[in-house]
Amino acid sequence: MALATSTAKRSRGENLVLRYVILGAWALFCLAPVLWFLSIGFRPRTEIITPEPIYIPTFSLDAWHMIWEDWPMAKYLRNSVLAIFGSVVIDLVLGIPAAYSLARYRYKGRDDIGFYILSTRMMAPAIVAIPIFFLFRNLGLLDTIWALMLIYAAINLSIVTWIIRSYMIEIPKELEDAARTDGASDLRILWEIIIPAVLPGIITAAVIAMIFAINEFLFTLLIASTPDAYTLSVALANFTGGSDGLIYNAIALVAFLAFVPVFLVVVLIQKHLSRGLTMGAVKG
């Protein structure tokens, strides 16, 4: 008996060590690209492209100065932030009522409408790229942040609606019945009861929309033709060509800049996020 216990203890200890080794290795694997960015970003350009291995890297702020001084990086950053936040606000303003309607009201064609909303996500974006270009040109919105906001919002509206809907379905109907007999109107119920109750879902949806928006490239490239509407993701592309050739260290730094805010937000709300994602996955 005593032997069995000590064996069990030891094997549990070994298990724990093994678990940490595996998790540590996985964390390193995931973080390696980020560390690689940093390592490239803060080295001189010549050192990066030399074929010989370098064991002791030289620290340099060349690329850092370059992206801020030679390029309007602050403007790109501002464009990214404005377009993304604007799009998320639009998504929430449209997606929350849509989700509520899909989750709670019974009407003809409700499921078809729900599917239609989701199906906008199934299409290859390139198919609509040209029509959208003409649409925005006719609206006079080409090369503006407004166009980016609208297009990001359109891309993400379906997923935002569906994530929030999956949360709303989980709310006991009794809560709404109680509010109704207490004298609340439908809008009141949505505002005072439903939205606070699905806040984790709303945050999850907003973060996912944000991540998709920050990574959006195709439409941004199509709509933005001058630095007035360039975002970080398109700015990155500017370092890949032209007379300067591939500027690896600048690319690495800009990519890192685009990564950090998303990373921080995800860390801050990871509890909600994991719940939100699994909830959407199991119930839907």
Binding site: A179, D182, A197
Partner: protein, 349 residues
């Protein structure tokens, strides 16, 4: 304070009947309990009174005013739910205040009304907690406070005690009855628990299959059941219902012979007798069978007798003991024997 009249109420979803035909007049200040198994239409009927469901047919009047087209939020009705339905993001104080805000009660009165309602259910010390920090009983009291805070015309309670443990349920039952008497508010209470129904109700409405089976005071329902459904649903253990035949006013079934029944001719009937109206007898009695089970509970001993293939429950004296398989005679209290038509289930008098 209001009188509620339901006339010819029906509710149908597609081809599924919720409520088939309900006619009921609830007096002002009365506490009426809808009792029945799940799916009998009791909750649906209540939700129609609340305005949360529209009747497919029939009219609902409150104090003579037709309510059919009046929205739930505009009916002066407060409801308490089985799952409490407290708003999770609000404190207990905000929960209780919510109906006051929605119904535009002057702001200056809010604090006093909320505190008065909380005091009635002894929740003054919990007002700034969130519902999640309260026990089940406290949550249900908070839900009660939210219902009484604006002194509605009608209280609707949908199985409010089902989620509580037995001890708390008894305590809350007494509190609800006390509150209702104190506030004099017409109340409709839905439950599948016959003890709750018996203890709380001025009148019980027994429902089954979307139809009212019987309306009456708890005493009426218990002592004068209208049919086998009501007879079998009320009482713990329920009434013994024994199928057999009557000939020359004498009922016979395997192991049973009961003379002097008010039934003419020969026909199949069901005999009903409550376990407490069965008495241990020596020799010549109504029933003779084998002892199938003896369950002492302290204050009473439950005896189960097998007569033919039928098990008969008897509430015996606390000291009663018997060997399994022993022969035992049982006599019925002749004034408390019920006869039902086996085919329709209706009482024969």
């Amino acid at each position: 304070m209001a009188r509620i009249e339901l006339s010819g109420i029906q509710k149908k979803w597609g081809t599924v009947w919720g409520v088939r035909d309900v006619n009921l007049d609830i007096a002002d200040e009365e506490l009426v309990v809808f009792l029945g198994p799940s799916g009998c239409g009791k909750t649906t009927t209540m939700r129609m009174i609340a305005g949360l469901e529209d009747p497919t047919q029939g009219d609902i009047h409150m104090d003579g005013e037709l309510m059919n087209d009046i929205d739930a939020r505009d009916r002066d009705v407060a409801m308490v739910f089985q799952g409490y339905a407290l708003y999770p993001n609000m404190t207990i104080y905000e929960n209780i205040r919510f109906p006051l805000r929605m119904r535009r009660v002057p702001k200056s009165d809010h604090d006093r009304l909320v505190r008065d309602a909380a005091a009635l259910v002894e929740l003054e010390d919990y007002l700034d907690r969130k519902p999640s920090a309260l026990s089940g009983g406290q949550r249900q009291r908070a839900a009660l406070a939210r219902a009484i805070v604006r002194q509605p015309q009608v209280f609707l309670m949908d199985e409010p005690l089902s989620n509580l443990d037995a001890k708390l349920r008894q305590l809350m039952r007494v509190q609800i009855k006390h509150l209702q008497r104190q506030l004099k508010i017409t109340t409709v209470y839905v439950t599948h628990d016959q003890i709750e129904a018996m203890t709380l109700a001025d009148r019980i409405v027994v429902m089954e299959g979307g139809l009212i089976q019987q309306i009456g005071t708890p005493d009426d329902i218990y002592n004068d059941p209208a049919n086998t459904f009501v007879a079998g649903f009320i009482g713990s253990p329920p009434m013994n219902l024994i199928q057999g035949t009557v000939s020359n006013s004498t009922f016979t079934a395997e192991g049973l012979s009961v003379p002097g029944l008010p039934v003419d001719g020969d026909r199949a009937v069901t005999l009903g007798v409550r376990p407490e109206d069965c008495h241990i007898a020596a020799g010549n009695a109504h029933l003779e069978g084998e002892v199938y089970g003896v369950e002492p509970t302290g204050d009473i001993t439950y005896l189960t007798i097998m007569a033919g293939k039928k098990l008969i429950e008897v509430k015996a004296d606390r000291d009663y003991r018997a060997e399994l398989g022993a022969r035992q005679s049982v006599a019925f209290d002749p004034s408390r024997i019920y006869v039902f038509d086996t085919e329709t289930g209706a009482r024969m008098r």
